[in-house]
Amino acid sequence: MTLLLWTLIVPVGTALLGVLPVPRWLKETNLVGGLALTFALSIATAGRFLAGSTPTAFGEVLRVDGLSALVLVLSAFVGLMSGAYSVGYLRRNEARGLVSPWRRREFDALIPLYVFAMLLVAVSNNLGILWIAVELTTLVSVFLVAFHNRDTSLEAAWKFLVLGSLGLGFALLGTVLLFASGRGLLGEGMKGLNWTHIVAMAGRLHPLTLKLGVVFALVGYGTKAGLAPMHTWKPDAYREAPSPAGVLMAVGMLNGALYCLLRFHLIAKAALGPGFSGGLLLALGLLSVAVATPFILIQWNLKRLLAYSSVEHVGIMAVGVGLGAEAATFGAMLHMTYHTLAKPLSFFSAGTLAQLHSSSDFEEIGPGTLGRTPVASALFLLAAVILTGSPPFGMFFSEMTILRAGFAGPHVAAVALFLSCLVLLFCGFFYQVGRLILGESPRSPARPPQPERLDAGAAVTLLAAVVAVLSAFYLPPGLLDLIHAAVRVVEGQP
């Protein structure tokens, strides 16, 4: 058994063990231990890649190149953070009688299964397997969105599943058309859908069929990534999903879907030149950033605010890739990394706030939370500072890199629009956060929040804060190497 296969087997094993009716401490050990082992194995797999070999399995159906290795490590990291936070999250909700033992077992199985699907997305070199893995993430997350079984959770889950399935239908059609564009060239059997094989043949694919396929694939996987105008499921799903699952969707699914978009973009780039799919990505990315702006200004819910921020960030990454310059691509990969490292903090602190105040709506939490729940509020404020790309944190530098590369290139008008949207988003986000956290606290709040305690959830939130802040000043050299390797893949260099 190779290392790569173990990386995929361990989360599945964790999921299977999660179903067993065992005492709570054993469940928690299993979840966190399994995901920690998965993270370690992912790092080892990426290490193998950095050492010069290319881990493969099943005749190149699974293959780890630079882009895969980066997404693999980031996904496994988020999986571990999510698993660790869910310990405290579930304890709090169990104390309030919100989680039945059956639901708990469902949760313990779904989270590792989701991690497995994310990792499978990251390492699959076969476009068919890629599609299957993305569909798997969708099916798993439906149950996570519907977890609380409220009216609104069912609504969000329904919208998510219908829109997600439709998007995946488009992605499948895109894959089929791509396969059709190489009829007679790609051959039959699994090898015909291998990405490496298709890229090698790219120059001889039928251009019109390929174009149609790429458009469908971008729309389809763009739906999963949450690019505007296909982002409408995102705010609903983020609001309803439990915070540990929310962070998996906001980072894991986003990175995975972006990975799919990049794979199709690279095929189109090799066959048709950089303009076609790059232009589409640039347009979709700009639209996402522009659409997020007004919705952040009128937002009424903490987690929906995070959802629109996530629409903004995926837009930034799409713009970075779409600009086509190597420096901009580097900015996009750097942005993906910093976003992954910072997002858990925002979800965990927002989740803690929502749990303490028993709601995530601004009206219910009320203004001036800093006075009532100081630690969680301060951490959320910190998350807001980092997420909006303020200096000296990482996302400031990645956004600057993209902007600099953009102004040096041919799309100056688009980049200027992009910059103005970013500035507006910055102001809008702080307007909302300021209103919520710093505003004047009512004399006699309608519903006093629960007191803050240093429990498992708070500890993991603090850990997430440390990671988010430290990453601004120090990225491990291995991670930087992975980012550079990913950029080389996107730029088509050996």
Binding site: N126, G128, I129, W131, I132, E135, L136, T138, L139, V142, F143, A146, N149, D151, T152, L154, E155, A156, A157, W158, K159, L161, V162, S165, L166, G169, L172, L173, V176, L177, F179, A180, S181, R183, E188, G189, M190, G192, L193, H206, L208, T209, L212, P235, D236, R239, F295, I298, Q299, W300, R304
Partner: protein, 215 residues
């Protein structure tokens, strides 16, 4: 001969899609979907016979058993449990829906001529029919309000994608097709579970009532 048979079967699938648009009884709509899937299996069988491709038989068997029998049976069970048998008045009435679908068919056929093999013979008709079905599935999705009809619309889109796969390629690799079929059936199960939960909570299957989340 074989070519004509393939065209006939693909046209039959298109006809079932039209009938679905003109249909309000949910049971009949499900039977139409079942018929459509069996016709899709038929296309795969005929193509397998004429090209001597054994793996197409496997995919045909899978299609007929899963989509022709298992999924319709499951959906009927869901309807029986929740006791709702008819689609309410759709947002657009039937005659104008049919007229719009006619337009969508023209668009689908027009697009199919641009594809690699589109200009010639049977493939042109198969892809044309498939793209028309795809557009009609999307149309059904936005104009109907019952949860089960929306599931059927999704499944029609999915059948259309498989028909494109048969027409434009010679079928996807078997393992991929197996995986996709497995995912589709799990998706239908998940949708069924959700419908049950929605009916339990809202005492209705009308998805237009799911409208609390905005902004």
């Amino acid at each position: 001969m074989n070519q004509d048979l393939v065209i006939l079967l693909a046209a039959g699938m298109l006809v079932t899609a039209y009938l679905m648009v003109g249909q309000k009884a949910l049971f009949t709509a499900i039977r139409l979907y079942s018929l459509q899937s069996i016709l899709l299996g038929g296309v795969a069988v005929v193509m397998g016979l004429s090209d001597h491709r054994a793996h197409l038989f496997a995919s045909a068997g899978l299609t007929i058993v899963l989509k022709g029998v298992v999924i319709p049976w499951f959906l009927m069970r869901v309807i029986d449990r929740v006791g709702i048998h008819r689609e309410i008045e759709p947002i657009l009435n039937v005659p104008s829906s049919l007229l719009i679908c006619l337009g969508l068919t023209v668009v689908g056929y027009r697009v199919s001529t641009g594809l690699a093999e589109g200009a010639q013979g049977a493939t042109h008709h198969v892809i044309g029919a498939a793209l028309s079905m795809l557009l009609m599935g999307l149309f059904l999705m936005v104009t109907r309000r019952k949860a089960v009809t929306q599931i059927l619309a999704l499944l029609t889109v999915e059948n259309a994608v498989f028909l494109v796969a048969l027409g434009a390629t010679t079928g996807m690799p078997l393992i991929v097709e197996l995986g996709i079929s497995f995912d589709v059936i799990v998706a239908v199960l998940v949708l069924g579970v959700l419908v049950r939960r929605i009916v339990d909570r809202f005492e209705s299957m009308d998805v237009s009532r799911l409208s609390k989340l905005k902004g």
